[in-house]
């Protein structure tokens, strides 16, 4: 039982981060049909920038805020200078561009930061909380709470504000969005910035548990992509569920089978989804009256 709860919590914690990365994929995919494989680099930038600003003497909360803003600026620049300039290119070319951008960002981080692993102090100490025999890090709860807050904020924004609805409008019918006067380029740029912010927050929250270095984005992008595919690409609720399920599968595979197979789980998930249910868990055929 204690073991089970232990795996459950570590799975949910990592799953929450996958869910946030998958949400970033979803936002950008919906707005622009681009699968942004540089999504993981936003997570890396969030953690690494906070670490280095902290080392430069800036108080950590401020450093974290600046890191999120910096990641958003990188997201906007990625859209403006890499995606927008290739407007009209097909989806595969755009995906290649994001892979290139991801390699570039990783390289830049290696040069401007360093190649070491870094950590941040846990927000509320690192004394584990005992819960039915399992030891739960307070930071795990911070990650979970942070993920919940982001999901609620994002949902409120999309569902309750006109700007949020313009994001949906751009996603479901770009032509009509342009015809009602929505500047769809700005909406897509805005989606990149929001995705970057979500990724950066995830990176900051998880760094005290998993550490960070210039290279953490690669695997996170893959895991987040697997989570988004599992939930159904383009569906926000699917991204969250896919992330949590993937995190749990990994944790239980690592715990009950062997930790060596942990990273294989994501690939198995991608393959299974592609073979068995390409629509994902929440995906369904489009029904529309004409």
């Amino acid at each position: 039982m204690a073991e089970f709860v232990q795996f459950l919590f570590s799975g949910l914690t990592v799953g929450a981060v996958y869910a946030l990365v998958a949400l970033g994929f979803t936002l950008i995919y919906n707005a622009s049909d681009v699968i942004n494989f540089a999504q993981g680099e936003f997570v890396m930038l969030g953690g690494m920038t906070t670490v280095f600003l902290g080392l430069a003497g800036i108080p950590l909360p401020l450093a974290a805020l600046l890191a999120v803003i910096f990641a958003m600026a990188v997201g906007l620049a990625l859209h403006r200078f890499a995606i927008e300039t290739a407007r009209g290119a097909n989806a595969v070319s755009l995906i290649m561009i994001t892979i290139g951008a991801s390699i570039f960002l990783r390289g830049a981080a290696q040069v401007f930061f360093d190649k070491q692993f870094h950590t941040l102090p846990a927000f509320f100490g690192s004394e584990p909380i005992r819960f039915v025999g399992a030891a739960i890090l307070p930071q795990s709860l911070v990650v979970l709470a942070g993920a919940v807050v982001i999901v609620v904020l994002l949902w409120t924004f999309i569902d309750r504000t006109l700007l949020g609805k313009a994001v949906i409008a751009t996603a479901v019918n770009r032509l009509a969005a342009r015809l009602v006067g929505i500047d769809t380029r700005r909406i897509v740029g805005f989606s990149f910035a929001i995705s970057a912010a979500i990724g950066a927050v995830a990176g900051i929250l998880i760094t005290p548990i998993t550490l960070t270095n210039y290279d953490v984005g690669t695997l996170l992008a893959l895991k987040g992509f697997a989570a988004a595919m599992l939930g159904g690409m383009g569906i926000a609720a699917g991204a969250v569920i896919g992330g949590l399920v993937l995190g749990l599968l990994e944790a239980f595979a690592a715990g009950y089978l062997s930790s060596q197979y942990k990273d294989a789980v994501a690939f198995l998930v991608i393959l299974t989804v592609l073979f068995v249910m390409p629509q994902g868990l929440l995906g369904r055929a489009k029904v529309e009256r004409v």
Binding site: A166, I168, A176, A177, V180, I182
Partner: protein, 233 residues
């Protein structure tokens, strides 16, 4: 009000408009009659700025607009009801209307909303229904209402009768007439030439990307070539 001169546009290397010129005066209904693939939709999309042009000029109220972005043309007062309605299907009727007023989002749009609900009471009843669940006729009404939310001075209507039962076509045309009475200038594209010419002041006939005839609606209705090609006489 709107003046299009020698407009050329195409898809890839295939040119769809070979130098089209049309004029629309304020408070007119001008109709563009032509068969499938004649370039009607391409012309309307070029005027709205969502279809790239290769040559020619577009003037709206004496300002050159052929280089301005689609969203700034809406802000200037050109709204379009696109072919196939193109609603935001998962969003509610009210959200579709609110987005229709996007170009005026910093102003009070309550007056337009109540105007629209007064003239389309069915939309008011279904304001919380996703647009994709509406029937074809209701969707067309919503598409028109959404364009009106931008408070346009020029309304471009692309095949508003497409796929609708005859009784609904009549309803739509009544709405178009009523909009003209309200002072709106309308450029109406239709395959249903008889219905369009019945409510229009003037018309153009477009064939394979070129204007081949123009005149008052009366003249076009009695033109033997137009009768043979589009009126089935």
């Amino acid at each position: 009000m709107l003046s299009v001169k020698d407009l050329r546009s195409g898809y890839g290397r295939i040119e769809a408009l070979h130098g089209v010129s049309i004029e629309v005066e304020a408070s007119e209904i001008v109709t563009l009659v032509g068969g499938n693939g004649a370039g009607k939709t391409t012309l309307l999309r070029a005027i709205s700025g969502v279809q790239p042009i290769t040559a020619g000029e577009i003037r709206f109220e004496d300002a050159r607009i052929e280089r301005s972005a689609a969203h700034s043309r809406v802000a200037r007062g050109i709204a379009q009801v696109p072919e196939g309605r193109q609603l935001f299907a998962p969003l509610t009727v009210e959200d579709n209307l609110a987005l229709g007023a996007w170009s005026r989002r910093n102003t009070d749009v309550a007056a337009e909303l109540s105007y629209v609900y007064e003239h389309f009471p069915m939309l008011s009843e279904m304001r919380r229904t996703p647009a994709g669940m509406l029937s074809g006729g209701q969707q067309q009404m919503l598409a028109i209402a959404r364009a009106l939310m931008a408070k346009p001075r020029l309304l471009l209507l692309d095949e508003p009768s497409m796929g609708l039962a005859p009784i609904l076509v009549d309803q739509i045309l009544l709405v178009v007439r009523e909009l003209k009475r309200r002072g709106l200038t309308i450029l109406l594209v239709e395959q249903n030439a008889r219905a369009a010419l019945a409510i229009a002041d003037r018309g153009y006939v477009i064939e394979t990307g070129q204007i081949t005839a123009t005149g008052t609606a009366q003249e076009l209705l009695s033109d033997s070539r137009v009768q043979a090609a589009y009126l089935g006489v």
